[in-house]
Symmetry: C3
Amino acid sequence: MTTVAASTTDPRAAAELVARHRPGHALEAPFYISQDLFDLDIATVFARHWFFVASEAEIREPGDYLTIDIGDYSVIVLRDDDEEVAAFHNVCRHRGARLLNEDRGAVGNLVCSYHQWTYATDGSLLTAGLQAPGFDKSCFGLKRVHARSVDGLVFICLAADPPADFDDVAGLVTPYLAAHQLRHTKVAAQEDLVEQGNWKLVMENNRECYHCEGGHPELTCTFFPTYGYAPDAIPKRLQPAHTRYLEAQAALERACEQRGLPHAPIEELSGRPTAFRVQREALDGAGESYTRDGSAASRRLLGELDSPRLGRLSVHYQPNSWFHFLADHAITFSVIPLAADRTLVRTTWLVHEDAVEGVDYDLATLTDVWHQTNHQDSTFVARAQAGVRSPAYVPGPYSPTETHVDAFVTWYLERLQEALG
Amino acid sequence: MTTVAASTTDPRAAAELVARHRPGHALEAPFYISQDLFDLDIATVFARHWFFVASEAEIREPGDYLTIDIGDYSVIVLRDDDEEVAAFHNVCRHRGARLLNEDRGAVGNLVCSYHQWTYATDGSLLTAGLQAPGFDKSCFGLKRVHARSVDGLVFICLAADPPADFDDVAGLVTPYLAAHQLRHTKVAAQEDLVEQGNWKLVMENNRECYHCEGGHPELTCTFFPTYGYAPDAIPKRLQPAHTRYLEAQAALERACEQRGLPHAPIEELSGRPTAFRVQREALDGAGESYTRDGSAASRRLLGELDSPRLGRLSVHYQPNSWFHFLADHAITFSVIPLAADRTLVRTTWLVHEDAVEGVDYDLATLTDVWHQTNHQDSTFVARAQAGVRSPAYVPGPYSPTETHVDAFVTWYLERLQEALG
Amino acid sequence: MTTVAASTTDPRAAAELVARHRPGHALEAPFYISQDLFDLDIATVFARHWFFVASEAEIREPGDYLTIDIGDYSVIVLRDDDEEVAAFHNVCRHRGARLLNEDRGAVGNLVCSYHQWTYATDGSLLTAGLQAPGFDKSCFGLKRVHARSVDGLVFICLAADPPADFDDVAGLVTPYLAAHQLRHTKVAAQEDLVEQGNWKLVMENNRECYHCEGGHPELTCTFFPTYGYAPDAIPKRLQPAHTRYLEAQAALERACEQRGLPHAPIEELSGRPTAFRVQREALDGAGESYTRDGSAASRRLLGELDSPRLGRLSVHYQPNSWFHFLADHAITFSVIPLAADRTLVRTTWLVHEDAVEGVDYDLATLTDVWHQTNHQDSTFVARAQAGVRSPAYVPGPYSPTETHVDAFVTWYLERLQEALG
């Protein structure tokens, strides 16, 4: 994207790759290893769609900010002086210096360290040293990036005209989130993991549990091993787990209905720009939270919830995130492409804003299952990346337990088709 | 090779470079530094020819395996359940994960860690979890790579149709190797050295001893300094060494004839796909082995050999290896390109399978000369790579002592010509 | 530059970028981040113009040398046996090995470590081992690089036909330098700093002091904060400093006239291949040198100077250097591009050849201000590089204090225009 020469991304070659995709099969190698396709992913997927970057709990006070680097972009996400979430390109309007150079912090105004150009939290240029007559400060405010908070989850969109269907999705998902009151949470822990694979391998890995039984001993303490199977395709050896799941799910649904909590799945993982899936599902074991025995990790429940036994409310969002909301805590995951073969996965554990570490929750217990699971997934992603590079790689068929992988791939190819015309 | 855009390797530009090569002179810079030509080397030289990867001593038991990465390929070389050497692409047929992730090891079946697809050592798919009706396991065996053992030396070929002349070469070389009984050796030591230069600079460096006198004090204890000189071009100062060589060579030939060991040189280093040179030559000093004084490094001789004083049987093989077989041990060298400017050189010291370390041989003595020599060569290769990058570099003429370098370069250009048509 | 494929630098695309430059504004992003434009900068700016590499004090004795790597070139700069400064491509004429592999040193002859080809300090090939009849040593001397010393400052030019106007510039600048007698200095300290930004960002940063007040607390002890302002545009808050500057400058000019030292500015920073600016200006504080209080850092003044209070003689040179000559010491700065986003800045502190460390000068005091200033600048350059990568970056307008930045950019674009035709 940064070359003087005509862009090396040949749209016809990309369109041909998209066109020859074999339905129900994995993507061909160039989608995972080509620099051209990585540039195309940034330009067509990340620069045109809403993606998740943080929860409001990370920027609680006016002036609190974090910076997000994506492709060649750098974006400031902050709470402005009106206490609203806002986002700006992290580029001084003078000679282009990066304005804020820490991952996160708090500022009064936004002051460029180079020549002290100073911007308010609404992006307007306040002072710029001596300038020639005719210099119009109003022309040099920071360039704004679209930002939206969905009940505490912050999404941004780099496009001039973001996909219009985001509002619909926000409207559909908000009723599920409401009871967890994310705006009254705080960050208990955050973990950044740089995985050695393409961002789509990270997403695909998240979209199936075919690998859970063999790969995630901690997660499968509470994650039913039947996840992803069609009910009529549960293998015999998993029938006892399935029966246990059906009973737990029925109990969960009763509990939700007593409390007016929506629980029915909505699944729109392809066929629209803003694609998602939401569902409240039972957990195995004690059924309360992601711990080894399934019991709650925090005694202080989120919002006004009166029972820890509310399973997991899971949201899967495309292009780049997934979320688990338990009665006692919430976990957000964001996927940020760094290079064709390197991806940042940021995991954030949120607890009630009044929960006290060491009293209400133990940090190691809270983070244990997903810390282990993330690292296991990181190994799988690295092995997938290493393998698909081979000229001998031929995409294999998805099994019936990989329908959400298939849906993600379908959605992704729709995005490219739309962009390539 | 991995780009969506049309390949940036312009065959006409490559063909033009080949065509303008000046006979008797070093190659032009792009052959050593261009990513395009590196990709071409992998595609035309390494992906189409037999190259050496290991000795059978490295995979003695069924299930023993090693993995070889070359270009974007990864290959498993193993001993199968029928005790035959076999090779497979190291790529799961499901979603392409790298199957075996260690450099070497031992397995019963080959199990992909991701979703537990399980293959037998003959590559057939045994189990693949739940699959849709109609899934035919027989279509998803591991993709096989051609593998051949020449009296214990394992070669592989990635091409669908390997060069047919390999059998001839195997037939010519085997009588020389036989007495050393490589299948009854074990690995005493192995050293991987990543050299900071193009693989062809590594090969060229190996193909002349012009640099030995100034650069290899340990090797020249036993390596006659006249190596590579035409008999009528021996410089005066080397005449005493030449006389010593002639006497030693005559004695060696008598010893060989008494024992029925072939010793006459065969040299076919260009003009054919599978190019090689074999010759048994005398060593200086005690004349037995590569040590500082030339005496044997292992008391347990290879095979049924009854004398340590059998010089060195040296095989030079293209594209990627050379071998020295002494009476007391053997050394194999494999050259694996890693990038245009980085190359793996793997050196393996083999001794009789019954030789006991500390009793029959001392490891430091055994490996001393070639360990030092390899590291000296690595410095030369790095300096050559650094120098040829300069736009001021003009290929100079080969001297009469560099005929094997010239032969290697000729063979290499023949390979490109053949591929470029 | 090193690809087999047709060069990816599209001259039309580069010419279009040059043509659409908006006068008075910063350069567009590709000039700082594109590999193609980096290659073009090396080929058109550095390979065609005289650039500064060292002072003669670094190569005092015959055989003393240093090596300079620039783009893919490596150059030996040495004092030859006739005590003249000479330069050669650092490439053996045999198989291209890098000849001298240290940053600096001293040699009798230049001997290639690979095959012992041996060259005299005038570049002629003395010996080359055994060669075929007809080998003509006189055809294989080292390739010479143009080298010139301007009163002790060594410049080289890689072009066959260097810009002819260098002699004029040397003639104009020499009278200013003469009294400092650089040929009678020695190196007190040298510091290499690899900055994380394009070489033009390094140069632009040097060409304005807009950032000094906020960014260089040590430098602004003696550097008048009005540097770069037009006299009629001095902001009110800087009027006291301006008055102080005018008085100091008047005193300096009187002192220069008493001693016959030229002091009037000459500024030709664009419009010619060899562009420069020279001026003797007053320093703030004690007015003698770059220290926290402005007093001299070395008691032994340069040359025959009889007063420490002679301000700073500053030379700004394009493409790659600036110099400050004080009464007590001199500092040279050279800028060497390493990659599109990495640049070497070498700072050398010179004192009288008879000055004694610990007696005449304290090394920490001598180097303090510019050591701090360089590191501060390095941070600014890194932030500029990080910022301009963003697709959201739009070049902003230069302020009236950035006229020398504008002149540098103008000169640079002239160079590209000349090369692109």
